[in-house]
């Protein structure tokens, strides 16, 4: 029972980590908080729901969700961040992205209503289980865990091993210097937003498929928690976002196991404050480069 709860926590945590990686990528490159990220995550679930309702199969729905989330990310970058690129505009950027988030929530409530909408997939995909070493595990959860870990691994390799990743890291280090070396900073910003938003959208899809419904308030409940996870892991650090996500997922699952589930949100934020007290740069962050820039 306890082991099953921990596995549930890890699956939950992998979804947190997917969102937190997007937050941390955008924060690392632009040094700004993107408050609209949680709403792209929320819309991911609804896009999947809509495309399944229109008769698409799950792989097609995943593809559609990825494309639409990427486009939304481009939109957020253009409306909310393009004009607020200077270093002291982080309040303005936070407000403009929050405003985009408000509009996205309100519009999706106009379309789908404020109540959760059920998402049923054909076949027994949502209920099939396998037994590994005496533990009954829902196949779907295992698939979500494996796929999100793979996605994060790919992102990590892209950032650390490819030309695109080198350009992203250069812009994160200093946009001005990167521009001097002939890097198109705007293009890199767009690419970062697309990557982050696709991951958020897929996380939203995973949540919708796992729980069986999508709801317009997950951006505020789930998405904001990922923001705390990013700070726990160290802002701008991909490994930190992954570890923080898994940690918080397990903590939350254990909180429900021990009957204090209603305080799960509070634990996460208190954990973040404690981390800020003990390690101001988060679990993995290094104070040096970022702090000088601030």
């Amino acid at each position: 029972m306890l082991v099953e709860q921990i596995i549930n926590g890890v699956v939950l945590g992998s979804m947190y980590a997917l969102i937190a990686q997007g937050y941390t990528l955008i924060f690392g490159v632009l040094d700004k908080l993107n408050f609209a990220h949680g709403e792209i995550f929320m819309l991911g679930g609804f896009v999947c729901l809509a495309s399944v309702a229109l008769g698409a199969s799950l792989p097609v729905a995943i593809l559609i969700t990825a494309i639409i989330s990427g486009l939304l990310g481009l939109m957020v970058e253009f409306v909310g961040f393009r004009k607020f690129r200077s270093a002291d505009a982080h309040i303005t950027a936070a407000l403009s992205s929050f405003a985009i988030g408000l509009v996205l929530i309100d519009l999706s409530q106009k379309v789908w209503g404020a109540e959760p909408v059920a998402l049923t997939l054909p076949g027994s995909l949502q209920t099939a289980t396998i037994t590994i070493a005496g533990l009954k595990i829902v196949v779907l959860r295992l698939a979500i865990l494996v796929i999100s870990l793979l996605l994060m691994l790919v992102l990590y390799l892209v950032v650390l091993r490819t030309g695109l990743g080198r350009r992203i890291r250069a812009v994160a280090e200093s946009p001005a210097k990167a521009a001097l070396f002939g890097i198109n900073v705007t293009r890199i910003n767009q690419q970062v937003f697309v990557i982050a938003s696709v991951m958020a959208g897929l996380a939203g899809l995973a949540l919708a498929v796992r729980t069986g419904y999508s709801s317009t308030d997950v951006g505020f409940t789930f998405g904001l928690k990922a923001l705390a996870i990013m700070a726990i892991g160290g802002m701008g650090d991909l490994r930190g976002a992954l570890l923080g996500g898994l940690l918080v997922g397990v903590i939350e699952a254990l909180a429900f196991q021990w009957g204090v589930g209603q305080f799960a949100d509070v634990f996460v934020w208190l954990f973040m404050i404690a981390i800020l007290l003990l390690r101001p740069a988060g679990l993995f962050g290094t104070l040096v480069s970022k702090e000088i820039r601030a």
Partner: protein
């Protein structure tokens, strides 16, 4: 009906000012909805369960919220400004979750029985806060705040304790939000934790920002306009989030440096030059 308008407009003016006070030292707070909840519930418990009069109860509630703000804000302020934004989001989310789970104050069903807010309470509060801020803007303290907001590093090198200044602003802002929240609750009679969520916090920030935060008159004007427009234009109420979002985006895009950048020197300095 008139009473409703006076109370809501006055409360929103004070809430906008509570965000403005925190912004004076350069930090943005999404916690004022949470502080409002603390104010509403703490004063409600004091008046309903202990029979205390409204005004001392509101003041005590304000002090409690101020203490919470200072305690929770301190670790964040030691690092970077952006962390405070995160912590304030956390305050609002946590306060709501905690209140929802306390049966003593009705949990998710909400807490009722608060009465006693008269329009003159709110009017007096607005005048008091307004006078206080006006004296502040004429005092040397304003220059310290300007220095901290514009450039923390040089302010610190001039011997200003920037963390202390920011902490005091956060505490005062929390106090104001909580007092406004307690008057609000004692007008509504029944409140639920849902009324003080993160969206409310964002709306309060938007009141202040829409009005303009370069001087003390902008935020209350934003509060008044944003409270009255949905009342006047029928049917706009349900479109309020979208309208708010679009208006704020347009304003920020048209004047990217105008609304929040604080490039103006204080009015008094302008007069001298």
């Amino acid at each position: 009906m008139m009473q409703d308008y006076i109370v809501f407009v006055g409360v929103n003016m004070v809430l906008a000012w509570s965000v403005y006070v925190i912004l004076l030292a350069g930090s943005l707070s999404f916690a004022n909805g949470g502080f409002m909840a603390i104010g509403a519930y703490a004063s409600g418990v004091l008046t309903v369960k202990f029979g205390m009069p409204l005004i001392p109860a509101a003041l005590i509630a304000g002090l409690i919220a101020g203490a919470v703000g200072v305690l929770v804000g301190f670790p964040a302020l030691r690092t970077r400004g952006i962390y405070l934004m995160l912590v304030t989001v956390g305050i609002t989310v946590s306060v709501k979750a905690v209140i929802e789970s306390i049966d003593y104050v009705g949990g998710i069903q909400g807490f009722g029985g608060m009465v006693g807010t008269r329009p003159w309470h709110v009017i007096a509060l607005v005048i008091l806060v307004g006078c206080g801020l006006w004296f502040l803007s004429k005092s040397p303290l304003q220059r310290i705040l300007d220095a901290v907001r514009e450039d923390e590093l040089s302010a610190a090198s001039l011997g200003i304790n920037t963390v202390y200044v920011k902490l005091v602003c956060l505490g005062v802002g929390a106090f104001l939000a909580a007092v406004a929240g307690s008057f609000y609750a004692h007008h509504l009679i029944h409140v639920t934790p849902d009324q003080f969520g993160i969206v409310v916090s964002v709306f309060i920030v938007l009141y202040a920002v829409l009005g303009g935060t370069n001087n003390m008159w902008g935020p209350p004007i934003g509060g008044v306009i944003m409270t009255l427009i949905p009342e006047v234009v029928r049917g706009l109420e349900s479109w309020r989030p979208t309208a708010f979002g679009v208006i704020i985006l347009v304003l920020l895009l048209i004047r990217p440096d105008g609304l929040l950048a604080f490039r103006d020197v204080t009015t008094r300095a302008k007069k001298i030059w």
